[in-house]
Amino acid sequence: MIPGSFSYHRPASVADAVKLLSDLGDDARPLAGGHSLVPMMKLRLATPAHLVDLHGIATLKGIRRDGSNLVIGAMTTQHELLASDDIAQSMPILHEAALLIADPQVRYRGTIGGNVANGDPGNDMPALMMTAGATYRLEGAGGARDVAAADFYQGAYFTALEPGEILTAVSIPVPAAGHGYAYEKLKRKVGDYATAAAAVVLTMSGGKVATCSIGLTNVHETPLLATDAAKAVIGTSLDAATLKKAAAAAEAIMAPAADARGPVEYRKHVGGIMVTRALQRAAAKAK
């Protein structure tokens, strides 16, 4: 439980960070809150020779509006997400989900950038970002590009990030006023990753679901967008038969691993239940 030796760098700008990463090559890793990376280093599952700490880069922090988008700097901590009134009001599902991440100690250091860039299917933010239709800004030696969250995740710990690139911000379109939302997460205890979790953002019109998107956490090697399940509920009043259909459609795309949280069958089953419950709660909240 002791990491190997590494050198530590603390650039003051994105340009410097990008330059360091491309100069140092594969042996270098960006360091954000360290709450995913450092445990891996302690187990020597990750043995970077260089850590490029992003804490010195002031421009990577903060929450601002850009038109109808909420733009969150990569180094904004989960605690700062929770402290933001703007998020609580315009994007309450982000507030709700951030509260379900571990405990205050983790949230004081863990960042949104680290959480979404890590590529860990257990992290809660990625599925949420997919549900909300977010895009990530990636900056590297070759310049900046935007990648949709839905296109970012390729496999467990495999993402669209190119070597030497850093994720600088996430940009989330603010959902329509009066939308309903819910993040339902089943976990064994505080500090545990989801056995299964579902994010739902929907709008209702005349008692029927008008728009809906559903994201799934930790039931596959990547976060998932449950498109068929979302389609199944559009135009319905979420009657029992529809909920069952939606849960089944969601379960059909799940492929969780068996672990101490339970066998595959259980994790899929409760994944379906999280979808059902999130839909019901979201609908009840929609105006």
């Binding site: 439980m1 002791i2 064994r188 205890k189 500090g191 101490a260 409760v270």
Partner: protein, 806 residues
Amino acid sequence: MNDLTPTREQRSAALEGMGCKRKRVEDIRFTQGKGNYVDDVKLPGMLHGDFVRSPHPHARVKKIDDSEALKVPGVLAVITAETLKTVNLAWMPTLAGDVQMVLADGKVLFQNQEVAFVVATDRYAADDGINKVIVEYEPLPPLVDPFKSMDADAPVLREDLVGKTTGAHGPRKHHNHIFEWTVGDKELTDAAFKKAEVTIKEMISYHRTHPSPLETCQCVCSFDKIKGELTIYGTFQAPHVIRTVVSLIAKLPEQKIHVIAPDIGGGFGNKVGAYPGYICAAVASIVTGKPVKWVEDRIENLTATSFARDYHMTTEIAATKDGKVTGLRVHVLADHGAFDACADPSKWPAGFFNIVTGSYDFPTAHLAVDGVYTNKAPGGVAYRCSFRVTEAAYCIERAMDILAQKLNMDPAELRLKNFIKPEQFPYHSALGWEYDSGDYHTAMRKMMETTGYAALRKEQAEKRAAFKRGETREIMGLGVSFFTEIVGAGPSKNCDILGIAMFDSCEIRMHPTGAGIARMGTKSQGQGHETTWAQIIATEIGIPADNIMVEEGNTDTAPYGLGTYGSRSTPVAGAAIAMAARKIKAKAQMIAAYKLEVHEDDLEFDIDGFRVKGLPEKFMSMKDICWAAYNSVPPGMEPGLEAVSYYDPPNMTYPFGAYLCVMDIDVDTGVYKVRRFYALDDCGTRINPMIIEGQVHGGLTEAFAIAMGQEIRYDEVGNVVTGSFMDFFMPTAVETPHWETDFTVTPSPHHPIGAKGVGESPNVGGVPAFSNAVNDAFSFLGATHIQMPHDYWRNWKAAKDLGAVA
């Protein structure tokens, strides 16, 4: 006397003696981060040791190449079994009469077994070194399932025992067999079953778990070559035993070994025995001439340092149709892992499991325990319980519920019907114990009244009907548990550790100003001894508890004792304290008589001093007597005021309690909610009610963890899959239910202050309460016994197997 003269109540309260909710004096340093733990010990020139561990559960070690490791800057030495053989320490004796490899000798027998010890100038270098030691293994077939240990074709695990047909506890039936232990009258019991009207039989497993104290096991060993002295700072629950063991196995004179147990961050049985880390650190210090620190990390603690439980108990009860028990038959398959490293008194291979008749008047019983080896970490220790008592309590409490279900009787009623009656004490159990005192009916009825048991059963019946009608997906369970513990090991007639009788001790030294210091052979790991021991002395001799300093853990200054585990401190050391205090008091009485110019017999003790009978104004305070002890003792008497007592208890003590758990379970997810938990404990005389409450809260939290998910699990090929707190369930304040505590007081008749011990009761009684609640919840769907742990997915699986979820 005037208005300012304190009343008797005020004088008594000023002592903060027994019965007072005195605040824990140790918390002043703990809450400010000023405790002094082993890892705080930093000696000049100190080196650090760390282990290379086996990735394989069973393999032959072909070769260990340390050449690259020795090139790592800071790495000074790599110790292997070959090194240890030169000092005859490659193997060490266990407390259970087995031997255990200190470092892999030819073979590894469990995953994460210690293979080599890397010594370096700091922990980082040591870890770098570990990664450079190249070990060549030849994997062997792993044996994981204890039920297959004694198969004819089971692999031979312990090559050192090949051909040995007897072990420390009698004949061995198989190459993977450790011992068989039988108690009770087999013929009589078999006969009771033959003519029984009703019988039940169930294989009740108590899964492998782990004490997991927040502070892991650690030590600093410092060998002084000039003086030939070895000083060991360590996380030891029994420092004197460690000193003797080190002396015997390292062949060092015992007076040249100094064992110091500083503040300890929880023990729960994990810190009783000796571990390879201690031996390796000591050898490394002898080899290098420098102090060597060894600190385990969490993964090492969970996966290699002694586990607990792993008892598989086939349990049968014979009874009459109307619910009177007539016989008990239990066979236990005990999985000890690779080495039998139980920390039980030497003659008790299955501890006090023969308390398995519990609180019930079984006319006859028979018990057989078979211990076996598997490719798992060695143990098992008594995790917050007297030796194997929690397994026994779980076994009988679960079985009584199964019987109640079969008889269609309420489980509380069945218990009331079979309790040992108050007039039967002292009670001789069918499996050989003499229960000291108890009033089970009163405790049970108080539990039932306080919790509104009858109303809860009614609510449950309504909820069940609603569930059947499809109106709810939630089921409700009531977990009744009535446990009897056996603690206070123990009387020299039946308890010893490596030949040392399990007495305990206290030395009290009063100073001239009416203050004093008291030292014991026990060692607090969080129990609050510094607080409670002083309270006993305060009441016994009339000196305020605040004036008594309590010191434990230094073998040079403390009288010899067997340490703290098995709830033995209050029953044994607590008695020694009272007896030593009484010696002080007796001498004080002689001094007071001399000073007051009366005969001793004319004096009576009055709270904080001696008074002449019939002459209330003639009084001498203990404080003044202390002063007099140093300047004007009666002619012929030695000055000073000190006493030592070594207490060999005449019997164990038998705390008991009635617990109730009310639980709701969502069948669709298996998620449970403990709606209510009520714990009534009877631990005899109560020394400090606040500390008792704290102990009960802590023990219940551990019981909750164990029953609801805390498990050391191996996969089919012997990989341990629960190596961190992510998967090993350690509840936080968020998961922990609210605890309601209550009590009755039935003093122990043989203990000087009537106290019985309480630290472990809640773990012993709590586990069956939780498990019975889960089982009770599912019983109306047709379940008879669902194995622990009852985590979410297993609850869901139970519901699914019973057809309650699609």
